[in-house]
């Protein structure tokens, strides 16, 4: 039952990802006083792309077609690490958050390679910028995990969630606030959202993710875009699981699961509103200010780790 649910929650993260993206897009449109597209639009986009043909540049090697598949595979695998409805996940080992972070790194590595295999200028441009952002984001991401893990005295994501559920929300320590802010900033950078990257632009001065996927079309593009949506969903769910898990099912009863699903949906929606709000009011940062933005995250996460000394009980 527990394993089945673990598979189900990983599948949920994968399948609901386009919906989250659609919801954020719709909310953003509303903030900007537009009608906006349907929240189901990303699904029809994916279906449309899967039916199209794959265009491959004449100079490309096998890496070009494999990269999107590898990216998709590792992001799906990373999704299996997260407790969503119950406090356990498919993979729940000691130190699994290091593996989680490095799985995301595999995805980035191959996306950069795929971009460079296109043989045009834009792929290299996107890859080069992605290298900058990801390099600066990895440290704070891991440090935030470390801080939370130290406070909870648990070495794995699922364990941290289990511990947090047992705590009182109003008892929450400074470490959690710092780590939450860090993870929030890093999530924006990792998922390629404003103010680090603008997911709707195709302007060569600013694009990062879009630059990397510019040469992709058809099913390959669909997989990259889907993977990117899953990444956003995974990172948002991570924020929920680590910092506001209350409502998650601790026993496997139907009532608890319904409550878990409901509270998760509400929290996700709130985060989506927050994200849409941020994207509507904040302009994209200049490329060379992004490291400063991530430097703030690094500083916050360092403080978080230092404060664990006081917060430990």
């Amino acid at each position: 039952m527990s394993t089945a649910l673990a598979i189900l929650q990983a599948l949920f993260l994968v399948l609901a990802a386009p919906l989250v993206r659609g919801a954020v897009g719709r909310l953003k449109a509303r903030f900007q006083r537009r009608q906006g597209a349907s929240v189901w639009r990303p699904y029809s986009d994916l279906i449309k792309l899967f039916q199209k043909e794959d265009l491959i540049p004449p100079t490309a090697s096998w890496i070009f077609r494999s990269a999107p598949r590898i990216v998709f595979a590792v992001i799906v695998t990373a999704a299996a690490f997260l407790p969503v409805f119950q406090t356990t996940a498919l993979a729940g080992h000691r130190g699994d958050f290091i593996l989680f972070v490095y799985l995301l790194a595999i995805g980035r590595f191959f996306l950069m390679l795929g971009a460079m295999d296109g043989g045009s200028g834009f792929g290299g441009m996107g890859a080069s910028r992605e290298a900058l952002v990801s390099t600066m984001a990895e440290g704070p991401l891991l440090l935030a995990f470390v801080a939370v893990s130290i406070v909870a005295h648990r070495p794995a994501i699922a364990g941290i969630v289990e511990w947090t559920v047992g705590q009182n929300f109003f008892d929450i320590s400074a470490v959690h606030i710092l780590a939450f802010t860090t993870l929030g900033i890093v999530s924006l950078a990792e998922a390629g959202r404003m103010p680090v990257d603008n997911p709707t632009t195709h302007l060569e001065l600013t694009m990062i993710h879009e630059g990397m996927v510019l040469e992709y079309s058809g099913p390959s593009l669909a997989l990259v875009e889907w993977a990117n949506a899953i990444k956003l969903n995974v990172l948002l769910s991570l924020l929920i699981a680590l910092f506001v898990p209350w409502g998650i099912a601790t026993q496997l009863t139907w009532q608890a699961l319904v409550l878990a699903l409901g509270s998760y949906a509400v929290k996700l929606l709130l985060l989506a509103v927050l994200l849409a709000g941020i994207e509507s009011v904040i302009a994209k940062l200049r490329m060379y200010l992004v490291p400063d933005f991530l430097g703030v995250a690094t500083a916050l996460s360092t403080l978080a780790v230092i404060f664990t000394m006081i917060a430990k009980r």
């Binding site: 491959i56 590898i70 998709f72 290299g124 440290g139 099913p219």
Partner: protein, 658 residues
């Protein structure tokens, strides 16, 4: 008895027979037999090391005394691990060289190359199996001299002789420190047998122990290329022939790690906390600066040389964490961190030698190593490309490959540092997670760049355009190393079990077994990812090869692609304080800036330890020497005065000395 005779055979084959077959005759057949004997001998050593490593067998053989000094060799757990490392890499390198050397060198050079490569491997084996100080120092010195000889086989044109000179100079400064380490034991353990050294260490005063660790850090740190003693490394490794670079970078540096572990853990048995902090600081500096310098190198071999400094940094981080845990009486975690470092030493040997051999294959196929002149090689060299990709992923620490295993262990031990009793240590150790993550992120960027620019996209030069796959022996060696990288990455417990026994033996407690079980998840996860990738590749789609839209231009050319220099531009701007780049842009013709016929861009790092660290020291020493020249007046009376003053001084000294 049987095993020690294999050891004898190994020593005689590599030390005597193989060099004799190369230099003693000019018969082709005999030389070929010599090469076969070398491969056979190394394979024998590998089997021996593997048996010792996995069954816990230990062997010792005694050689005749040299003068007063006893000489003997022994293989215990730690020696077996490093002997295994040396022989396994050397085996791949020897197979590779059997094809590479013939293609690149004249008959005379080739003979010297083989004749020196064999004692080079032997000298490293001597260092890690020595059980007396004399045997160790003999191997240590032989290793330096023979490797310098190997660099000089290609001739001594241009900068080469200067670089070799710096190499030899720094190696001997290091060797002096290593020798001093041993001779500090002279009063308590005459003969310098390791067993006596070990038992007398407990009675040393703290001052002597501190002096020992500092000397060991200086001596072994120079060999390992820890910043700021790394000066020789980026000079010597790139100019050596590729198989030799693979041995130097992959294996020779590890003998220094062996020495450091032998002294700090086996002989001295840990020490005060600052030993740990020293290694942590050195590791962080070497790791960060090493990878930052590597990132900006667009020559394959120079980049790999700098990345060796980075990996030595990671190994030092693990050693430092281990010493720190030990000083706080938390031996289980000390053992885990030590397992991390030892395993990373092993892993680095495999992926770094793989990449150096790969660099040799690139230069074999395209006649150049500058990344900015390559491109599109994956389509032209399928096997080489895949093996280099495996190497790049391993070195970037990606999961399912061996680089991740060691780094994970080091990460875990850093996090576990929060449980230490020291108020400083429990915050500082977890913060090093950020340092290691930054190193990991940078090396990901560095090697995505290296592989992407060289192997993907369009070829940027005629050489890359016409590249052909290299012969099978070279490919086989690289494939074998790549297989080992994947094998350790997926089935880590195979090597984790013996290595944790060794670490447990050194520290006194086995590492927490719950931590080592983590790696059982790898085969399943690998299978899941593989299944997802193959399934999505197997789904049939319509595919069409179509030219990329060129934004209205006639066609895309290779010059429109990002080069390695362009790729790293954003990171160069962020870390501008580290590089202080000197930028030169030349636009021709000068009078038409908006319609340039050619634009050349150059960006060079201007910071260097040579200028800011070594030059002032050298100048100070030379200045002092000039000052001392005042003493030498050439006047006999003055010299008589010196003698008189010395005599008076000595008498006064004797009066008050009692």
């Amino acid at each position: 008895m049987g095993w020690s005779s294999i050891f004898w055979t190994f020593l005689i084959l590599l030390g005597v027979l193989v060099p004799l077959t190369q230099l003693g005759t000019k018969t082709r057949a005999l030389q070929a037999i010599g090469i076969a004997l070398l491969i056979l001998g190394i394979a024998g050593g590998l089997v021996l090391a593997a048996v010792c490593l996995w069954t816990g067998l230990s062997i010792s053989i005694r050689l005749p005394n040299v003068g007063y000094f006893p000489v003997s060799l022994a293989i215990d757990g730690l020696s077996a691990l490093f002997l295994f490392l040396i022989c396994s890499v050397a085996l791949a390198v020897a197979v590779y060289s059997s094809s590479y050397i013939g293609r690149h060198y004249e008959a005379v050079e080739a003979r010297w190359m083989w004749a020196l490569m064999s004692p080079f491997v032997l000298s490293m084996a001597l260092v890690v199996t020595a059980s007396t100080g004399f045997a160790f120092l003999f191997g240590w010195e032989l290793m330096t001299l023979v490797s310098a000889g190997l660099i000089l086989v290609e001739g001594d044109a241009g900068d080469r002789i200067h670089n070799v000179y710096i190499y030899l100079l720094m190696m001997h400064l290091g060797a002096a420190a290593v020798a001093a380490c041993f001779f500090l034991y002279w009063p308590s353990a005459p003969g310098l047998e390791f067993a006596a050294i070990r038992s007398s260490s407990a009675h040393l005063s703290l001052g002597v122990r501190n002096a020992l660790i500092l000397l060991a850090f200086l001596g072994f740190g120079t060999k390992a290329g820890i910043i700021p003693f790394h000066l020789w490394l980026p000079r010597a490794h790139p100019i050596a022939p590729s198989p030799v670079s693979a041995l130097m970078s992959g294996v020779m540096l590890k003998t220094a790690i062996y020495g450091l572990v032998r002294f700090a853990f086996d002989f001295l048995g840990g020490g005060p906390a600052w030993w740990g902090y020293l290694l942590l600081a050195a590791g962080a500096v070497s790791g960060l600066l090493g990878i930052l310098f590597a990132l900006q190198e667009s020559d394959w071999k120079r980049m790999l040389a700098y990345s060796s400094i980075e990996n030595i940094g990671i190994i030092c981080l693990g050693l430092g964490a281990s010493l720190l845990f030990w000083s706080y009486r938390s031996p289980a975690w000390a053992a885990l961190a030590l397992v991390g470092s030892l395993l990373h030493s092993l892993n680095h040997a495999y992926f770094k030698s793989l990449l150096f051999l790969g660099a040799g294959a690139i230069s074999d196929a395209t006649h150049q190593l500058a990344q900015d002149e390559l491109g599109g090689l994956q389509k032209r060299m399928q096997t080489t490309g895949v093996t280099i990709l495996v190497g790049c992923c391993s070195i970037a620490g990606l999961p399912l490959l061996n680089g991740f295993v060691g780094e994970w262990l080091v990460f875990r031990s850093f996090i576990a540092g929060s449980g230490l009793s020291g108020a400083g240590a429990q915050v500082i150790l977890p913060l090093f997670v950020g340092v290691l993550a930054l190193i990991g992120g940078l090396s990901g960027a560095c090697f995505a760049k290296a592989y992407g620019v060289s192997f993907l996209g369009r070829p940027r030069s005629q050489g890359a355009e016409n590249a052909r796959e290299v012969p099978w022996a070279m490919r086989a060696a690289m494939l074998a190393l790549a297989t080992v990288c994947v094998g350790i990455g997926v089935f880590a417990p195979v090597v984790l079990v013996p290595v944790s026994q060794i670490a447990g033996g050194l520290v006194g407690t086995l590492p927490p077994s719950s931590e080592l079980q983590f790696f059982t998840v790898m085969p399943r996860m690998g299978a899941a990812i593989l299944a997802l990738v193959t399934a999505s590749l197997a789904v049939r789609h319509r595919k069409r090869v179509a030219a990329t839209w060129a934004c209205g231009l006639p066609a895309l050319t290779s010059r429109m692609q990002y080069t390695a220099t362009a790729f790293t531009k954003p990171l160069r701007m962020v870390f501008v304080r580290v590089y202080k780049p000197d930028r030169k842009i030349e636009v021709l013709p000068e009078d038409l800036p908006y319609f340039p016929a050619s634009v050349s861009y150059r960006s060079v790092r201007t910071t260097s330890f040579e200028k800011s660290f070594y030059r002032p020291i050298v100048e100070r020493v030379v200045g002092l020497a000039h000052g001392l020249r005042l003493l030498q007046t050439g006047n006999v009376q003055v010299y008589l005065l010196y003698i008189f003053l010395t005599l008076v001084g000595l008498l006064v000294f004797l009066r008050f000395a009692r």
